[in-house]
C-alpha cells in the first residue's frame, strides 16, 4: 500500500497539522535567524522544518478528497512571491553584472511558470 494512500480521517488531520505547524515554524525560525543570526542554526538546520513541511504536505495532498480551484488566490500569491524574488535577486545579484536585470526578471516569472506547470 502506498504511504500516502487513502485511509481514515485521522491521517488527514495529522498531516494537515504537521504541514501547517512545520511551515509556520520554518517561517518563524527563518525570521528569528534574520533578526539574530545563529539563533537556531548554531544548534540545527532550520531546513529540517521545510523538509517536514514537504513530507506532511505530500501526505496531506494524498489524503484530500475535495479540491477547490482558487484560481485568483493562486495567481495573486504567485505574483507577490514573484515580486519578492525579483527584489531579492536584484539586491543579491550584483555578481550577475549585465545579466542582473535578466536574472531578476526570470526570478520574478518563476512562480507563475511553476504555477502554470502544476496546473497543467
Amino acid at each position: 500500500m502506498h504511504i500516502f494512500s487513502h485511509g481514515s480521517a485521522w491521517q488527514s488531520t495529522l498531516a494537515k497539522t504537521g504541514f501547517l505547524t512545520s511551515l509556520i515554524s520554518y517561517l518563524l525560525f527563518a525570521l528569528a535567524e534574520v533578526l539574530r543570526p545563529g539563533f537556531a542554526s548554531r544548534y540545527f538546520s532550520i531546513h529540517l522544518f521545510l523538509l517536514a513541511a514537504i513530507i506532511f504536505g505530500f501526505w496531506w495532498a494524498g489524503r484530500l478528497k475535495d479540491f477547490n480551484d482558487h484560481w485568483l488566490i493562486q495567481h495573486v500569491c504567485a505574483i507577490i512571491f514573484g515580486v519578492v524574488l525579483f527584489v531579492l535577486t536584484w539586491r543579491l545579484g550584483a555578481g550577475f553584472a549585465e545579466y542582473r536585470i535578466l536574472m531578476s526578471l526570470l526570478a520574478a516569472a518563476a512562480p507563475l511558470i511553476f504555477l502554470r506547470i502544476i496546473r497543467t
Binding site: W10, L14, T17, T21, G38, F39, R42, Y43
Partner: protein, 483 residues
C-alpha cells in the same frame, strides 16, 4: 480521537518547546552560559586550533583519548559568543610532560597583538623544591625560609633584584636612590613602527616626550595616534592624541612629519608607563625627552626607512632579556646581528630567529640596519645610560634562578587540578580587557614558550568556556530587540 488529538498536540508542542529552549539559550536568563567543547567535535562557538603548521591533526593519544597536539607557539582559536558577557572562564583539559609554562591569552590589543595571558601550568613553580607559602592564588617560594607569611613578605619585601615574579606586580613603588632630574633634552633617532610601550622614571620633573612620526599610508584607513600614560599602579594619568593625516588610502605616499607632544607636569616620583597606541602605518622617526631613564617593554618594531632615509641606519640596543627573537619581513632587512659577541644571522625573510643569551646582566645588541622586529621578555634601551629595570625578574623558562641570585619567587598562580591523566586548568578573563577581532569574535591563544625548540608537545583534549553576565531582566527585552 483522543490519540489523534494527542499526536496533534505533540506535533505543535515540539517546535514551541524548541523555540523556548533556543530563546533560553539566547537570552541566558540566569546570566551563565556554558560551552563544552571536545577537541574532536565541532562547536558553533569555538573554532578549531590554528595555524595548521603549529598543531597536529586530532588523534587518539596512547591512552586512547582524542587530543590535538600543539607543537609550536603560539596557537590560537576564535570564540564566537552569541551575545555580550562580562567574564570568560576557560577550563582547559590538557596533557603536558616537559613544557615548563603553558598559558592561555585573550587578545587585548589588535595593534602588535597584545594578549592578556593567564597561567594554565607553570612547572618551574610546581617543581621548585623551595619552601613555599600559599595564600589563595598567591604563592611565595623562598630559597631560605625568611618570611613567615605572605603578608610579611608584601609588607617588607626584599630588594627587587632578589625577586622573580610571575603574573604578579609588587605594590611598593620603585625608587632610584640619588636620582637627579635633568632639563637637558636628548633625542633618540630611530624608526619605530606602530604600537610600543615605554617605561620612564620621574622625580621633581615634568614628563615630556616629543614624538616625531609619519603616516606612511601603506594600508587603507585612518591612522590616529595616542599616547597614554599610566602610573605604577596601572591607573591612567594623562593622554594625548593626534588625528590621521587626512590620507585614508593605501597609496604609500608618506605624510608630512607630525609631532605628538606629551607634557604632564606635577607627577609624583616613580615609574610611569607610556603606551604608544598607533597602527602599523605610523612610523615614529625620533623622540626627544629630558627624561634620563627610558626603556621599551618586550618588543620593538624597528621600521624600514624607505622614503625617509637614503639608507637604513644602524641601531644599538641594551637589554637584560635572555630570550630574544628577531625577524625581518624584507630581503633588504637580512643581516647579521651581534648580541654581545654572539652572531645571529637573519638569512631569510619572515623566519623567526631565536637567541638565548648566556651572559649575565645587561647585554648590547648591534643591528647593522633597522627593518627588524625584535621580541623579548624584558626591557630594552637605546643607550646604556637610559637603561633601568624597574620590574622584578620575570620568571620564564630561560630564567636561571641561581645565576641571577634570585632568592624569592612570587606568583599569582593556582596549579592545575588533575583528573586521571589530564591536567585541568582554569583561566578567567575580564572581557572588558579583550577586543573583538571581528563582529563579536574573541581571539584566544595558547602560549607555550620554547615548545618548538625543545621538540615538545601539549595535547589539548577539551576547552570548556563559562560565560557570565548580569541575569536577564525585563529591561533587557527592549535592548535585546534593538541590538
Amino acid at each position: 480521537m483522543f490519540l489523534t488529538r494527542l499526536l496533534q498536540l505533540l506535533i505543535i508542542a515540539i517546535p514551541i518547546a524548541l523555540f523556548g529552549w533556543l530563546l533560553n539559550q539566547e537570552i541566558v536568563p540566569d546570566g551563565r552560559f556554558v560551552i563544552e567543547h571536545r577537541i574532536d567535535q565541532p562547536s558553533p562557538f569555538i573554532d578549531r586550533l590554528l595555524p595548521d603548521a603549529r598543531v597536529q591533526i586530532v588523534q587518539p593519544d596512547s591512552a586512547g583519548d582524542p587530543v590535538q597536539p600543539i607543537i609550536d607557539d603560539p596557537v590560537f582559536f576564535f570564540v564566537h559568543p552569541h551575545r555580550g558577557f562580562n567574564t570568560l572562564e576557560a577550563e582547559v583539559w590538557f596533557k603536558n610532560e616537559d613544557n615548563p609554562i603553558v598559558e592561555l591569552g585573550g587578545l587585548a590589543q589588535i595593534n602588535q597583538e597584545v594578549y592578556d595571558l593567564q597561567p594554565l601550568q607553570n612547572k618551574i613553580i610546581d617543581d621548585l623544591a623551595w619552601p613555599r607559602l600559599v595564600d589563595g592564588d598567591l604563592i611565595l617560594l623562598q630559597r631560605q625560609p625568611v618570611y613567615a607569611s605572605l603578608a610579611d613578605f608584601l609588607a617588607d619585601p626584599p630588594p627587587r633584584h632578589e625577586i622573580a615574579a610571575y603574573q604578579f606586580q609588587l605594590d611598593q613603588p620603585y625608587l632610584i636612590k640619588n636620582y637627579r632630574p635633568s632639563s637637558v633634552p636628548q633625542t633618540v633617532e630611530v624608526s619605530l613602527r606602530g604600537f610600543h610601550e615605554i617605561k620612564t622614571y620621574l622625580k621633581d620633573e615634568t614628563l615630556n616626550f616629543d614624538f616625531i612620526f609619519m603616516d606612511m599610508n601603506r594600508e587603507a584607513g585612518a591612522d590616529p595616534v595616542m599616547a597614554l600614560v599610566f602610573n605604577e599602579q596601572g591607573r591612567p594619568v594623562a593622554e594625548v592624541r593626534a588625528a590621521d593625516d587626512g590620507n585614508l588610502s593605501d597609496d604609500a605616499r608618506p605624510g608630512e612629519r607630525q609631532q605628538l607632544n606629551l607634557n604632564v607636569p606635577n607627577l609624583p616620583e616613580g615609574v610611569y608607563k607610556i603606551e604608544l597606541r598607533a597602527p602599523r602605518d605610523i612610523f615614529f622617526r625620533s623622540f626627544t625627552t629630558p627624561q634620563q631613564k627610558i626603556v621599551f617593554l618586550n618588543n620593538l618594531y624597528l621600521a624600514d626607512e624607505v622614503g625617509y632615509q637614503p639608507a637604513p641606519r644602524p641601531v644599538n640596543l641594551w637589554t637584560e632579556a635572555k630570550d630574544l627573537g628577531f625577524q625581518t619581513h624584507h630581503v633588504e632587512g637580512l643581516q647579521t646581528i651581534l648580541v654581545n659577541q654572539q652572531r645571529v644571522d637573519l638569512s631569510a625573510p619572515y623566519e623567526q630567529y631565536r637567541h638565548l643569551v648566556k651572559d649575565p646582566g645587561v647585554v648590547k645588541i648591534t643591528l647593522p640596519k633597522s627593518d627588524v622586529i625584535y621580541q623579548s621578555n624584558g626591557h630594552v634601551a637605546f643607550s646604556p645610560d637610559q637603561f633601568f629595570n624597574p620590574d622584578p625578574v620575570r620568571l620564564s623558562p630561560s630564567t636561571d634562578l641561581d645565576k641571577l641570585d634570585i632568592n624569592y619567587v612570587i606568583a599569582r598562580y593556582a596549579p592545575p587540578a588533575q583528573a586521571g591523566d589530564w591536567y585541568v586548568a582554569r583561566a578567567v578573563f575580564d572581557t572588558q580587557k579583550l577586543v573583538y577581532v571581528a563582529d563579536g569574535t574573541w581571539k584566544l591563544a595558547f602560549s607555550i614558550p620554547g615548545i618548538r625548540e625543545s621538540g615538545g608537545r601539549v595535547d589539548i583534549g577539551r576547552i570548556n568556556l563559562t560565560l557570565t553576565r548580569e541575569p536577564f531582566s525585563l529591561r533587557d527585552i527592549f535592548n535585546y530587540f534593538l541590538k
